[in-house]
């Protein structure tokens, strides 16, 4: 059964791939879009909420990524180049909401909203209460502010931690270590 996603508020485009559907929506209307999908399209279950940082996408020198526009870079040991350079992304952060319909006609869809550094997005806790910890984790790891979240504090890192570890510009191995015996 194919589902049409016409009428989703703020829908920018529908992208398919690997048998999955991605609805790119306007970040400013995320709550509207999510409420619509829950009430009109019966997506009653938020499986997952995950942001992705696309800083340095398709360029070199970023964690998890070695390559260049010219293809293979012979000067970076242990590297392989792209078969093709990936398409640029509209903004730095993508916030992905993986929705599921728990019913006799199950269906999955990904809702994607794009944010620049410093931009905020509304919380979806009123739509799915399970978003609480997911949004806290997103704040903790990426520094994305969810407007209206009742308790937006760190969840996995310590309360006084500096920086947001899953950002691509967060260094690896750069955190200070206190050795025992040191005063």
């Amino acid at each position: 059964m194919t589902v049409t996603y016409d009428g989703v508020p703020g829908l920018v485009e529908t992208v398919g791939g690997h048998g999955e559907t991605t609805l790119v929506v306007d970040a400013a209307r995320i709550v509207e879009a999510c409420s619509f999908l829950r009430d009109e399209r019966r997506f009653n279950f938020l499986s997952d909420l995950t942001p992705t940082d696309y800083l340095g996408w398709a360029s070199r020198g970023v964690a998890g990524h070695i390559g260049s526009h010219g293809g293979r870079d012979m000067h970076a040991p242990g590297s392989q180049g792209f078969a093709r350079v990936p398409d640029p992304k509209p903004k730095r952060f993508a916030v992905n909401y993986h929705l599921l319909r728990i019913s006799d006609d199950p269906e999955r869809v990904r809702v994607q909203a794009w944010l620049d550094d410093g931009e905020e997005i509304d919380t979806v806790i009123p739509v799915w209460p399970t978003a609480d910890w997911f949004e806290r984790e997103a704040w903790d790891m990426f520094g994305i502010v969810f407007r209206g979240h009742p308790n937006l504090v760190r969840i996995l890192m310590e309360d006084d931690w500096e920086g947001h570890p899953l950002r691509k510009d967060y260094p690896i191995g750069g955190e200070p270590v206190r050795f025992s015996g040191e005063e």
Binding site: F45, D48, P106, D132
Partner: protein, 423 residues
């Protein structure tokens, strides 16, 4: 979806706290009475299944306020995986939830294969299913042993860990290691199934149902066990869905939802099994779901073994030399095999650009993996949807109007594995 009708109406609307759905707050007027005692439960408490910290406001014996603090076991798996080649990443998901290792590895490998668009031989599919179900039993045995131990049934712990050992023997026989096997590869399995596996697994399948009967004989007539689990930690079907619960917790709230049946993956559509559903939504129902699921998993394992026995001599991994390591013996005679082996191990293989979300029904519920690839040899982003992480969000709802002694039973029944919660 068939939500079973409850005989007694327990719930009046939603019990999810507001405005923070995951924390109970003490009434302000109560707080001023000086009757409230705030205690810190954990992070190092033997019955928190790891390092969970609960800040509890007590009004006498009753829990008036509660908030969970997690993160004590955060090790940055997702960040680490961004630094590793895809090939090396396979080892990580297993270590996130060290009790359901094979199910996590399966989800990650399935997601990778979705990006790679690689065809997996049927023998690998059936063996994956077999090991995933063995993992489920392993995980449920650990759950049963520790949860019963916390409620005073110490002997359960010894019995379940004995059978858990027999289960791990099967893993050792197939993979060489008892846990964290890295047996699933992109494209299939690491090795062929050893010849002795079939007989030992058949023997195990005969023994296991009897063992489950014995567990029930110990617990089901035990007045203390029944008193401490029945009617405790109530979670309604609507609340469970709203709070994102999955797996045994969701099915114990009367929602007939199992990814293996509802959205079949691997070859679950071809095996015969039932999904146990209990409508009560209490700790006892969760215990019942775990017990019945073990029985169903034994049934699936038995069917897998018979099917696998017919597939002797078939390939166990896809024939794609750009992703799959060449056979060991070829390395001595074939230059190209040696080069490919070297390249795959040192540089890794390229995974096409794209993003996927793939999930499996792990012992704890929906274990999802979100992958984003830029077409290079390392993942751009890995995210795990950990069912334990979500399950602990239901603590506050389940603990509404509960006594302090129920807390142990409730936290245990939600089956959180802190390694997976904190990742």
């Amino acid at each position: 979806m068939s939500v079973i009708e409850r005989s007694i109406k327990v719930y009046e609307g939603s019990r999810i706290p507001s405005p923070i759905p995951t924390a109970l707050k003490v009434d302000q007027e109560k707080h001023s009475l000086d009757d409230i005692l705030t205690i810190n439960f954990g992070p190092n408490h033997p019955s928190t299944h790891g390092v969970l910290r609960l800040i509890v406001d007590l009004d006498g014996e009753m829990v008036a306020g509660l908030s969970a603090v997690i993160g004590y076991l955060h090790t940055g798996f997702e960040k680490t995986m961004e630094q590793k080649t895809w090939w090396k990443c396979i080892t990580y998901p297993e270590r996130i939830d060290y009790v359901s290792f094979q199910a996590n590895e399966l989800a990650f490998v399935l997601a990778m294969e979705k990006l790679l668009e690689i065809e997996v031989p049927r023998k690998a599919t059936w063996m994956r299913m077999c090991l995933a179900e063995l993992t489920r039993i392993h995980s449920h045995l650990v759950w049963l042993g520790t949860s019963a131990l916390e409620l005073g049934a110490i002997s359960m712990f010894w019995y379940t860990f004995d059978d858990r050992d027999a289960t791990l023997d099967l893993f050792e026989m197939v993979c060489g290691t008892r846990m964290h096997t890295r047996y699933f590869q992109a494209g299939g399995l690491a090795e062929d199934i050893p010849e002795g596996f079939y007989d030992q697994a058949r023997e195990w399948c005969k023994k296991m149902p009897k063992a489950i009967d014995e567990y029930e004989a110990i617990l089901d007539r035990n007045a203390i066990w029944l008193k401490r689990t029945k009617g405790i930690g109530l979670l309604s079907a609507d609340d469970a869905i709203a709070l994102g619960q999955s797996g045994p917790v969701l099915r114990a709230s009367g929602v007939n939802w199992d990814l293996r049946k509802s959205m079949p993956y691997l070859a679950y559509g071809e095996v015969d099994f039932d999904v146990p559903v209990f409508p009560e939504g209490d700790v006892y129902a969760r215990y019942r779901v775990h017990m019945e699921e073990m029985r169903e998993s034994v049934r699936i394992v038995a069917q897998c073994i018979e099917r696998l026995a017919e597939m002797r001599g078939e390939p166990w991994i896809a024939d794609d030399r750009k992703v799959v390591l060449p056979p060991r013996e070829e390395l001595h005679t074939s230059m190209e095999s040696l080069i490919h082996h070297f390249k795959i191990v040192t540089e890794g293989y390229l995974v096409p650009e794209g993003e996927v979300y793939e999930c499996v029904e792990s012992p704890r519920g929906e274990f999802g993996v979100y992958l984003a690839s830029d077409g290079g040899p390392k993942p751009w982003r890995v995210k795990f949807r950990a069912p334990s992480f979500v399950a602990l969000q239901a603590t506050a709802t389940c603990m509404t109007d509960a006594a302090i002694a129920d807390m142990i039973a409730i936290v245990g029944s939600l089956d959180g594995v802190m390694g997976e919660v904190d990742r």
